[in-house]
C-alpha cells in the first residue's frame, strides 16, 4: 500500500506528534543523531514506537572513487542497530575528496570509474550496517564535469550492479531536467522505475546564473518552498508506471507554512498516487 509521510524537523516536532494519524512514516536525518545524547536517542525510539521511522544519511557520499569514511559509517550502523528503522537511505553523490569537505552533496563525474567506486562503497555500507540502503538521485546546479554518461544511464548501472532499490527524489529529477534541457517526464521514464520504492517531494526556487556568464536561470532544490504542481504530476506518472508500493516523504527544511498547509501537501501526494494507480489499472484492464 502506498504511504505518505514527512521529514522530521525539530521545528515541526510538536505538530508531527499531534497529527500522527495523518502521517504514515517519518524520515529522520541520521547524521543529526551521530553524537546525540541518550535522551535524544530515546526520543527517537519513542517516535518509532508511534510511527514508522526511516533513516536518511547525508554525509557518506558513496558515489565516489574514494572509499567512504568508516567512522561515519560505523556511527550510522550503530544508529540503525539502536533505532531499527524500516529502511535507510543515502545519496548518489560525493561529499569529500583530497582531505576537503565539500559540505553538501556534489555530483561526481558520471563515468565507469565512479560507477565502480559507488558499487564497492554500497557493498561496504550494506556489510557494515547489515541492512541494504536505498540510493537517492541528487539535484545538481552544475552539469557534472568530466562525465561520459548521462544521469539515467549512470544511476541505472549503479543500481543494477549493486542490486539496490532507489529512493527517487522527484524535485531533484525535475530540477535537473529543467536545468539541463530534458523533459521531466522523459527523464523520469528513463530511470530504473522498477527499483523505486521510496520517493522524496519538495520545492525550490529559480535563481539567476552569474550575470557575467549568462542571463538564464536555474532551479535550486532548496526544500523551503511548497511542492510545485509539476512534481505532483510526476508522482502521478510514477505511480502509473510502478507496481510496488511507494513510500512518499515530503521534505521541508525551513520557511515553514502552517502545519495544515503541510498536511495539504501530503494529501495532494495521496491524490497523485491514487490517480496514478487508477491510470495503471485502466491500462491493465484495457490490455
Amino acid at each position: 500500500m502506498d504511504r505518505v509521510g514527512i521529514g522530521w524537523r525539530p521545528e515541526l516536532a510538536a505538530s508531527i506528534f499531534s497529527n500522527l494519524e495523518n502521517i504514515d512514516v517519518v524520515e529522520v536525518v541520521a547524521d543529526d543523531y551521530f553524537r546525540a545524547p541518550k535522551h535524544k536517542i530515546q526520543a527517537l525510539k519513542t517516535l518509532r514506537s508511534q510511527v514508522s521511522v526511516v533513516l536518511h544519511g547525508v554525509s557518506l557520499g558513496p558515489a565516489s572513487c574514494i572509499s567512504i569514511d568508516r567512522g561515519r559509517l560505523g556511527k550510522l550502523a550503530d544508529l540503525v542497530a539502536t533505532v531499527q528503522p524500516e529502511f535507510w537511505s543515502e545519496h548518489l553523490a560525493f561529499v569529500r575528496a583530497g582531505g576537503v569537505e565539500i559540505g553538501h552533496l556534489a555530483a561526481p563525474p558520471r563515468t565507469s570509474d565512479s560507477i565502480n567506486g559507488a558499487v564497492e562503497n554500497i557493498r561496504v555500507m550494506e556489510e557494515v550496517v547489515g541492512l541494504p540502503p536505498l540510493l537517492e538521485n541528487i539535484a545538481t546546479l552544475i552539469e557534472p564535469p568530466a562525465s561520459t554518461l548521462n544521469e539515467a544511464t549512470w544511476i541505472t548501472k549503479i543500481l543494477e550492479q549493486s542490486d539496490k532499490p532507489m529512493l527517487l527524489d522527484l524535485h531533484n529529477l525535475y530540477a535537473n531536467a529543467l536545468n539541463f534541457g530534458y523533459r521531466p517526464q522523459d527523464l523520469l521514464l528513463s530511470m530504473p522505475l522498477h527499483r523505486v520504492s521510496a520517493v522524496h517531494i519538495s520545492g525550490g526556487r529559480w535563481i539567476s546564473e552569474p550575470a557575467e556568464i549568462s542571463s538564464d536561470q536555474r532551479l535550486l532544490d532548496d526544500h523551503v518552498h511548497d511542492v510545485p504542481a509539476d512534481v505532483y504530476e510526476l508522482l502521478k506518472l510514477l505511480a502509473q508506471n510502478v507496481s510496488r508500493p511507494l513510500t512518499v516523504i515530503l521534505e521541508r527544511d525551513g520557511n515553514y507554512p502552517s502545519f495544515s498547509q503541510i498536511l495539504l501537501q501530503l494529501d495532494l501526494a495521496r491524490s497523485a498516487l491514487r490517480e496514478g494507480r487508477m491510470e495503471q489499472e485502466k491500462t491493465r484492464v484495457a490490455a
Partner: protein, 86 residues
C-alpha cells in the same frame, strides 16, 4: 587516468574561492598544475562555468548553515520553557 584526482580537483574548485577564480581566469594553466590525464583536462575545459559558480555559492551557503547549526541550540535546549513564559 585517476578519477580520484578529478574528484579532488572538483572538491577544491567547490570550496576554495581562489582556486575557483584562478580556474575561471586561466583554466588551462590551472588544469596543467594537477595530475590529470589529457582526456580529463579536455573534458574539464568544457566544464559548465555558470553551474560551477552557482554550485560554489550553494556549497558555501550549506557549509555556513552547518557551522551555525553546530554552534546553535540543540532541540532540547529550544524546547526548554523560558523563564516568565505563560
Amino acid at each position: 587516468m585517476s578519477s580520484i584526482d578529478v574528484e579532488t580537483f572538483l572538491a577544491r574548485l567547490y570550496t576554495d574561492r581562489n582556486a575557483l577564480d584562478h580556474f575561471l581566469s586561466d583554466p588551462i594553466r590551472v588544469l596543467n598544475s594537477y595530475p590529470l590525464a589529457e582526456e580529463e583536462k579536455e573534458l574539464l575545459l568544457r566544464l559548465d562555468r555558470s553551474g560551477l559558480v552557482l554550485a560554489f555559492n550553494s556549497f558555501a551557503k550549506k557549509r555556513e548553515t552547518l557551522q551555525r547549526r553546530k554552534k546553535g541550540k540543540s532541540f532540547w535546549q529550544r524546547m526548554r520553557p523560558r523563564a516568565n513564559s505563560a
